[in-house]
Every structure is written in structure tokens, then in C-alpha cells.
């Protein structure tokens, strides 16, 4: 009975997710499909950061650097910049792998540091990466400096290009739709990996370190290696998202990878509920969609209320966004959908019957 319900929910969810770009396109316009694509990219990023901050409890303020590494790796290997045009299935894993390597490089020397010191070092690391990207155009031009790298090859799956509109099964699929499905696939993969890790021996070790590092040590956990693993995994997700971003945009430049972006992703994780995958999804959805709503809605709303526009919509968006961060945190300091505290208390009774059933078997 219960199993059938679960299947039903899954099927409805799957149909909903598949139909989403068409519904969005029809109801809100194509611009919003693009926003959907970005939401998926942010989800991948936030889930990566969630491993570092949410599971292992390491405050990383330079996380966007791994996104940048992935994006530039993709851009350099698939654009006229270096004249290289490797196929997608080679570049994407390389982007993730390179980001992973950077994660280890950053992690190794810094894991001795206490929380807030780690924060500034990761922040510094993020800035260093950005500055290098900004300036590695001379004496040898590698990154093309502040102009960024353009004309990146569109994503090809075999001979199928996501960069052009296709007609499939009688449906018209423009590039934003196609990318949506590709990103959806990778997002589900990232969610799957997160879930698997969360419920594993490694995941438990991460959480133990987050809860009490000394006790974790006393339990025989090699905290250094396990933390390093968290950095590496988080960075891998970041690199993956970065590669996809570069292929989607066709253009990368250093200004996409500033501190503000790191902070946005951190806000998604913390605001939604650290360490809880559903919470992080909620955080991403809110923080991507809310600003867009504010951007599009604040102008007309002012017109409607006051008859004219006092503040330009962009400023108002920032203002309300900042206020929202403050209010939400004051209202729910553990995030909108905190990990477990509440869940387990609500279902404690449930679990009793469940665990006693398990015990019998």
C-alpha cells in the first residue's frame, strides 16, 4: 500500500518535472525557462556546498572558485581560445576532476584552522582564483582577462547539439528546454549522490565532525582525511556545475565568480536548512525565484500602489532580498527547513514501530 503511494508520487513528480519547461514557457515566457535552468545549476552548486558546510560543518566562503575552475576548464578545452575542441563527455568529467583537485589543494594546508580562520582562507582562495582569471591574459594570454572567453562550443551529445532548436515527437525544443533536461539529469544525479553519501559511513563521519570534532577523533575517525574528502566532493559538484554553465552560456568571464556569488550560494544552504537536502532545494528555489519576482514585480507594484516608481526595481530587489535574509534568520535561526531536529521528533513514534519491525526480521 505504502509502496504504491510512493510510486504514484514519483510518477507525478517525474511528469511534472518533464512538463515544467513547457508549462513555464506557456505561462510565464521563455525567460523563465532560462531561470529554471539557472535554478538547477544553483541546486548543484548548493548541494556541493552543503556537503562542506552542512554535513562536515566547515565554513567555506570561497566555494564559487570551484565553479569557476570547472567553467574555465570547460571554456578552455572547448573554444577557439586555445583552439581546442574536445567533446563534451571528455571536458565535463575533466572539469569536475580539476575542481576536485583544487578542492584537495585548498583543503590540505588549511584543515588545521579553526572555523572562522578557515572562512577567511577559503574566501582568500576564492579571490585568488578570480584575480588570476582576471589577469592571466598577459604575458601569455590564457584566460583572455576581464573580457572572458566567448564562443564556447555548445554542448553536443554525440551529433545532437543542445545549441539549436530541435523537433522531437512533435514538440519544439529550443536550447533552453534541452539544457533544462540535461541539467535536470545532472541535478538528479547530484541529489542521488548526496542522498547516498548522507546515509553512508562517510556521511556519518562528516556529521560527527560537524557535531563534535574531538569526540569524532576519540571514536577513531581520521578527521583530516574525512574533511579533505568533504572538500573534494563539494568541489567536484561545483566543477560539474561550472562546466555545464560554460557550455550553456557559451561565454565565461571572471565577474560571474565573485565573492557575492559565493555568498549567494551560502545563503541558499543556510537559509534553506543546512545539512538537509530538501531544505537546500527550497533555499535555492527561493533565492533564485524571489529576486526574479521582485525584479519583475516591484516596478508594476509601485506603479499600482503609488502611481509612479520611486525606487528602481533592481535596487528594490536587493533591498527586499537583504531584508528577507534578516527576517527569515531571526524567525527561523536553523533555516526554513532544518535538518532532522523536527523531522525525527515528529516521526519518533513512527520509527518505534518501524525499528521494532526491523528488529524482528
Amino acid at each position: 500500500m505504502r509502496q504504491r503511494d510512493t510510486w504514484l508520487v514519483l510518477v507525478v513528480l517525474a511528469i511534472g518535472l518533464l512538463a515544467l519547461p513547457f508549462m513555464t514557457d506557456a505561462l510565464l515566457g521563455r525567460g523563465w525557462v532560462r531561470i529554471l535552468d539557472f535554478t538547477l545549476l544553483y541546486i548543484m552548486l548548493a548541494l556541493g556546498l552543503n556537503i562542506v558546510v552542512g554535513y562536515a560543518g566547515l565554513l567555506d566562503l570561497g566555494y564559487i572558485a570551484f565553479f569557476a575552475v570547472g567553467a574555465y576548464c570547460y571554456a578552455l578545452l572547448g573554444s577557439p581560445q586555445l583552439g581546442l575542441h574536445f567533446p563534451f563527455w571528455v571536458i565535463l568529467p575533466l572539469s569536475a576532476l580539476l575542481a576536485c583537485l583544487f578542492g584537495v589543494l585548498l583543503g590540505a594546508p588549511t584543515l588545521r584552522l579553526r572555523g572562522d580562520y578557515l572562512a577567511i582562507v577559503t574566501l582568500g582562495f576564492g579571490e585568488i582564483i578570480r584575480i588570476f582569471l582576471n589577469n592571466l591574459n598577459s604575458p601569455i594570454n590564457i584566460t583572455n582577462g576581464p573580457q572572458g572567453i566567448g564562443m564556447i562550443d555548445p554542448i553536443h551529445l554525440g551529433s545532437f547539439s543542445l545549441g539549436s532548436t530541435h523537433e522531437l515527437f512533435g514538440l519544439t525544443l529550443p536550447p533552453v528546454h534541452l539544457h533544462y533536461y540535461l541539467f535536470l539529469f545532472f541535478t538528479l544525479l547530484v541529489i542521488f549522490v548526496s542522498l547516498r553519501l548522507e546515509g553512508s559511513r562517510i556521511g556519518r563521519a562528516w556529521m560527527a565532525i560537524r557535531e563534535d570534532e574531538i569526540a569524532a577523533k576519540a571514536m577513531g575517525i581520521n578527521t583530516r582525511n574525512i574533511k579533505l574528502l568533504a572538500f573534494a566532493m563539494g568541489a567536484t559538484f561545483g566543477g560539474l556545475a561550472g562546466g555545464l554553465f560554460a557550455g550553456f552560456q557559451g561565454f565565461v568571464s571572471p565577474e560571474s565568480f565573485g565573492l557575492a556569488e559565493s555568498i549567494t550560494v551560502l545563503c541558499m544552504v543556510v537559509l534553506g536548512g543546512m545539512g538537509n537536502i530538501s531544505g537546500v532545494l527550497l533555499g535555492c528555489l527561493l533565492l533564485v525565484v524571489l529576486p526574479e519576482v521582485l525584479r519583475h514585480g516591484s516596478g508594476p507594484a509601485q506603479q499600482l500602489l503609488f502611481g509612479r516608481s520611486f525606487v528602481d526595481p533592481e535596487s528594490l530587489r536587493m533591498l527586499l532580498f537583504g531584508l528577507a535574509l534578516i527576517v527569515v534568520m531571526l524567525w527561523r535561526p536553523a533555516g526554513l527547513w532544518p535538518s532532522r531536529q523536527h523531522r525525527s521528533e515528529l516521526t519518533a513514534k513512527d520509527n518505534l514501530t518501524k525499528s521494532s519491525r526491523d528488529d524482528r526480521t
Binding site: 553512508s200 556519518r204 556529521m207 560527527a208 563534535d212 574531538i214 571514536m219 581520521n222 525499528s355
Partner: protein
């Protein structure tokens, strides 16, 4: 897995362990030995250096001098926590340090970390070996929880357990590492007498199961009624190491600990009930 050692062979031997903090000497030249299969007590007034010694033994502090031998392997003054845990020393903490936002079950499962091996690949694929290992971990964790007497739903978050249960959970978590020596830092602090009694029983069970027990306590009456042998620390020095009966009459201990002169103590001690003596005799001469 127990090595085929003689029951009274030393499991842990400390020699000349010293430690000072910013010029203040916390421990000086501590030497003691703990035999396999005994319950060994470490007492002393507040600030005597008991917890410091504990932290050295479990790798949290680096000793200034001295060394110790555990299970026939010699360690210098400092060794990583996880190495010592692997060697078979598990501990609990004076001010309970559970993973408070994890469930009781998960807390114990973390204790199995050391004796399990599956990594990222296993986690992602959930292959047969990983599944078997997880099953075994879960099974063992459940057993340990009921062994220490936590009868609540095992999905309760550690921080929502009662105080006594939290202490027991810490013990279950330590036992999950398959220790040869379990070291308990003030396990009955804040417990009422019923809780204390059942904890005593648990500790005896643990010993009967082949694990050596080292216990630091403030509560002298508990130590004297539970331990096979007792060492007394005062001002960072060992002032006695003996059986509880001998410790009770040791004048240095009495004056250091109770501030009661031996004469006065002896006079009054005749009035003390001696009901628990037979109980102890059992332990001393198995």
C-alpha cells in the same frame, strides 16, 4: 578479539608521564599499570589532574615527558587520537560529548567507523560488501543500545535523551569501537542513586565481557564499591595505588581527599556499615 594473554598481565602501563600548562605543573611523573580484565579506578580531588591524564591517554594532549605501553605496543608521549582508538582505547567525556543532532543509533554507528571500511565508492554503488557492512553496523549498534539499556526509539536525537541515557549512549558509542580498554570520565556525575546502581551493573557486565575498564570518579563511594584497584591522584602526583580496602585506610588519601585526619576517621569508620565488602571480595578473588 582478545589476545591470549594471561588475565593479570598489564594491558596499559604508564611510566613517568608529566604535563604542564603554561608553567603550572598538572601532572608529574605518573606511573601506573592497569591489568587486563580489571576495573581500575582513578580518584582525586578536583583539579588533581585526572582528566589531564585521560586526555593524554586518548591522544588529545601531548605529554611533556614519559611514555606508555598499551597492549604490548609502546607509545611515546603523543599519538594521534584515531591511532589510539584503533589500538583499542575508547573513552567517554566528563561533560558528555555526543553528536547531539544525530540519532542515538547514528551515534553508535559512528563508533563502528573504525572497524568498517566502505568508502565513497561503496556509498555510491551500495554494493554487496557495503550493504553487508551497513547491515552488520546497524545490527551491532542496535545490540549495543539495548545492551546499555536505552529502550527509547533508537531514532531519538541524542540531545533529546535524558541525562542518564546520554551517559549510557556515550558508553555504547565507545563500546562500538571494540575497545580493549574503555576509559570513563566521571560517568555517574549528575546521576541519582538508581541510575548509579544500574550503571555499576553495566560496568561489571562490560568487564565480564572481557573489556578492561578505567574509571575516573569524583564519587569515592562509587569507586570503592566498584573497582578492583584504585589509584589516587593529588596535586598532579600519584599518592596511592592499591585495592579499595587498602585505599580506605591510607592516611595520605584520607587527608588529601576528605581533609579528615586518620585518627578521627578510624574512630568513626567502625560505625560505617560494611555491607558491600562481600561484594568486593568477589571481584578481588575470582
Amino acid at each position: 578479539m582478545m589476545t591470549s594473554a594471561k588475565p593479570h598481565a598489564p594491558l596499559l602501563e604508564l611510566s613517568d608521564i608529566g604535563k604542564s600548562f603554561g608553567g603550572l605543573s598538572a601532572l608529574s611523573d605518573i606511573s601506573l599499570h592497569i591489568r587486563r580484565g580489571e576495573i581500575y579506578g582513578l580518584i582525586g580531588p578536583n583539579g588533581a589532574g585526572k582528566t589531564t591524564l585521560f586526555n593524554i591517554l586518548t591522544g588529545l594532549y601531548r605529554a611533556d615527558g614519559g611514555r606508555f605501553t598499551f597492549d604490548n605496543t609502546e607509545y611515546g608521549g603523543h599519538c594521534k587520537s584515531h591511532t589510539l582508538a584503533r589500538a583499542g582505547i575508547a573513552r567517554t567525556f566528563q561533560n558528555i560529548r555526543l553528536f547531539s543532532n544525530m540519532t542515538a543509533l547514528e551515534n553508535v554507528m559512528v563508533g563502528r567507523h573504525l572497524r568498517t571500511r566502505s568508502g565513497i565508492w561503496g556509498a555510491l554503488t551500495r554494493n554487496a560488501a557495503t550493504r553487508a557492512e551497513e547491515r552488520e553496523t546497524l545490527q551491532r549498534a542496535r545490540e549495543l543500545l539495548s545492551y546499555v539499556g536505552i529502550n527509547r526509539p533508537h531514532q531519538t536525537l541524542a540531545k533529546n535523551l535524558s541525562y542518564g541515557e546520554q551517559r549510557r549512549l556515550e558508553i555504547a558509542r565507545a563500546l562500538a569501537t571494540d575497545p580493549k580498554l574503555i576509559a570513563l570520565d566521571e560517568p555517574v556525575a549528575g546521576m541519582n542513586s538508581t541510575e548509579t546502581d544500574s550503571l555499576k551493573k553495566l560496568l561489571r557486565d562490560i568487564r565480564a565481557g572481557g573489556t578492561t575498564v578505567l574509571i575516573i570518579e569524583h564519587d569515592v563511594k562509587l569507586i570503592l564499591s566498584l573497582c578492583d584497584r584504585v589509584a589516587v591522584l593529588d596535586q598532579g602526583k600519584k599518592i596511592a595505588e592499591d585495592t579499595p580496602d587498602q585505599i580506605k585506610c591510607n592516611s595520605a588519601v584520607i587527608s588529601a581527599y576528605f581533609g579528615i585526619e586518620p585518627a578521627a576517621y578510624e574512630q568513626n569508620s567502625t560505625k560505617l556499615p560494611t555491607a558491600r565488602l562481600p561484594d568486593q571480595a568477589n571481584h578481588d578473588h575470582p
